[in-house]
Amino acid sequence: MSQTPQHLQLNHQGQLRHFLTIEGLSRELLTELLDTADSFLEVGERAVKKVPLLRGKTVCNVFFENSTRTLTTFELAAKRLSADVLNLNISTSSTSKGETLYDTLQNLEAMAADMFVVRHSDSGAAHFIAEHVCPHVAVINAGDGNHAHPTQAMLDMLTIRRHRGDFENLSVAIVGDILHSRVARSNMQALKTLGCPDIRVIAPRTLLPEGIEQYGVRVFNDLRVGLRGVDVVIMLRLQRERMQSGLLPSEGEFYRLYGLTRETLALAKPDALVMHPGPINRGVEIESEVADGPQSVILKQVTYGIAVRMAVMSMAMTGQTTQRQLNQEAN
């Protein structure tokens, strides 16, 4: 049978070797990751924005789903760590020739890649690669189906921590399409692990997954009730397809009920942070004035994303290298 995520992600010394999901990771490890990211933020402010931690290593960004922003930040992160970087947009190359995910990754491994950053539309794809295809290459999940987007969650956590100090007394609301959101799943797990006492999800029932209670969150169907007194609002992107599948009547009705506007934001604490994983749909889930307003930290999130990805890459590379040495000693 398959390994549980916590065993697959950690080496025998408890260090991160793959980063697939927040589930099962300890508060200490997440805090170490945030501390490391904090230290990398300073690198981005230097004239020479490089550290030699991944010098001589090859990082492959293997994206089976298009994403300019995430791919770019991973590329920048790897380059700032001095790695050699290869970007592969697989959705337009080998899979259309009938090559399987298994063969594609095995071929890349044969080119002596040290790390795969993978985005794929199937939930569990990164897990599959780490377990069955390339266990000796560090695998970073850059988003798999509706399952997890752990680097996005950690950059959201870094954003919150840098603006609010810690998670102990915070109320955080996640608003919108929770059902299809890997960001929401990873964020709920990260907030819980880091000790956030009040996590709220706000959505109509059609956009909430079955069994949402398992995350230890409070569910609100009314934005105007759910936003009351929160410290942080995380808005989610709404895909246009949702209207076709009968989940929502129209964009207009969704915006009227769940859109973050100056009026609804006023229900939160006066200095509440406004976050969004991007790309934003202005006038669908968020009002332009709010997205560009003084409480918005949406662009900060992008900046912090590079530091978080540097932290994840350097930690996973260390963990994987240590595991290889442990294996060699054992032989």
């Binding site: 049978m1 549980t4 189906g145 799943r185």
Partner: protein
């Protein structure tokens, strides 16, 4: 060949026979139970002391993959696997290529299975042409060619009107119909039971209502048309409850469940093992409990393997992209025997769910020991644990139980008096 099986505990659920005795077999038939007939001199004797002799198992749901899918399995490989699982009669599904919707395909399957000779193969025909749900297959011609029942499997009917007409036509000629209820639109895109596990894993859920909505419609149309009906592979507590209610009202409907549904549940999907991708999906632990109770009470009278062998590549992909199904016919008896170990059923009752239960559901001449009847027998050691997967015979190794222990092992299988399987 004349054969004597000495000193086995012979259990025949059909006749409530259960004692330690001898079986004497000649010309493929059971000649005597107990004393040998006068002048009977066996050419082979099996010392079966400590073993249990049961009627050969009857498996109502097996994909043989031939014709059309030889990379997944073929009649020879999969019937050989069935014999190792103690199965002597199996119903094979019409999901072949070409689909089993003509007499020619039925005859091909019967010819090849007779040539292989490992198990009795009883084809299930496609209810509609190419399983497309639009035009009826030639049910009578297929019945005359050897089909014992008809099904759409998981393929939808074009409309409720076509389904109703198909059932009326089938009722005219008294051919049984097998239903696996799953509403295609409620299940669309789904790959796992809709519940907390699928939500956490980000797998698209299949709600219980995908099964119960289809089941409710099927039950109403069965009642209206009077067709003989069997449900294969029910998965949810509410579905077996609806079935029990229908039976209590006097509707003569029967059902089987997949053996693996009695052992696994959706929580096992943590870790995304593609081997656990099955359709209909593994349901919740509460559903599993209800299925086990339904098997115990007899509301579900048969346990079937729902054997779906696959080539390695079909499972060497992420969960969502993998082909659903478990290769399980060759461990049907060991898997089912765990229910005895769990205290759910006494051994004779468990064996009835694997022999007389399924045989009665489709009115098959199988699953019991009768003097002068065909010598279809399974011998197994009830106390010798075995490791699943040693000497695996099915072409499909897509089985999550491989490497695990099982409480008992089949030692011999006889089909028509011929020794078709013997453990090393």
């Amino acid at each position: 060949m004349r054969l004597t099986i000495q000193g086995a505990r012979v259990i025949d659920p059909a006749s409530h026979f259960d004692q330690i005795t001898d079986l004497h077999i000649a010309a493929g038939h059971i000649q005597a139970i107990g004393e040998a007939p006068e002048g009977f001199s066996p050419s082979q004797v099996i010392d079966a002391r400590g073993l249990i002799a049961s009627p050969g198992l009857v498996d109502l749901n097996v994909s043989l993959r031939e014709p059309g899918y030889s990379r997944k399995g073929n009649i020879d490989s999969e019937t050989r696997a069935a014999a190792a699982g103690g199965v002597t009669s199996l119903c094979c599904l019409p999901d072949t290529r070409p689909v089993l919707d003509t007499s020619a395909v039925a005859e091909l399957i019967l010819d090849r299975s007779q040539a292989s000779g490992h198990a009795r193969v009883l084809p299930i025909g496609a209810l509609t042409k190419n399983l497309e749900g639009e035009h009826l297959s030639e049910l009578v011609a297929l019945r005359d060619a050897g089909c014992v029942a008809f099904t759409q499997g998981l393929n939808p009917m074009g409309s409720n009107r076509i389904l109703r007409r198909a059932l009326e036509y089938a009722a005219t000629f008294d051919v049984p119909i097998i239903f696996t209820p799953l509403d295609p639109s409620l299940a669309e895109g789904g790959m796992a039971h809709e519940g907390p596990t699928a939500s956490r894993l980000g797998l698209v859920g299949i709600p219980e209502s995908a099964e119960t909505v289809a089941l409710a419609r099927d039950l109403l149309l069965i009642e209206q048309t009077g067709v003989r009906a069997h449900f294969s592979g029910l998965t949810s507590a509410r579905a077996v409850d609806m079935l029990a209610t229908a039976q209590a009202r006097g509707l003569p409907v029967t059902a089987d469940v997949a053996a693996y549904q009695l052992l696994l549940c959706d929580e096992d999907l943590n870790g995304f093992s593609s081997l656990l991708h099955v359709m209909p999906p593994l349901r919740s632990a509460a559903d599993r409990r209800a299925l086990r109770e339904a098997v115990q009470s007899g509301v579900v009278q048969a346990i079937a393997s729902h054997h779906r062998p696959h080539e390695p590549e079909a499972k060497r992909v992420p969960f969502a992209a993998s082909a659903p199904g478990i290769s399980s016919v060759e461990i049907l008896l060991p898997l089912a025997l765990t229910l005895v170990g769990d205290g759910l059923l006494e051994l004779p009752a468990l064996l009835s769910r694997l022999t007389t239960g399924p045989a009665a559901a489709l009115n098959l001449q199988a699953g019991q020991l009768t003097l002068g009847g065909p010598a279809d027998l399974t011998l197994f050691n009830p106390v010798q644990a075995c490791e699943i997967g040693r000497n695996w015979l099915s072409r499909g190794a897509n089985c999550p139980f491989i490497g695990q222990g099982a409480p008992a092992a089949v030692t011999h299988t006889l089909c028509n008096g011929k020794l078709v399987y013997q453990a090393n």
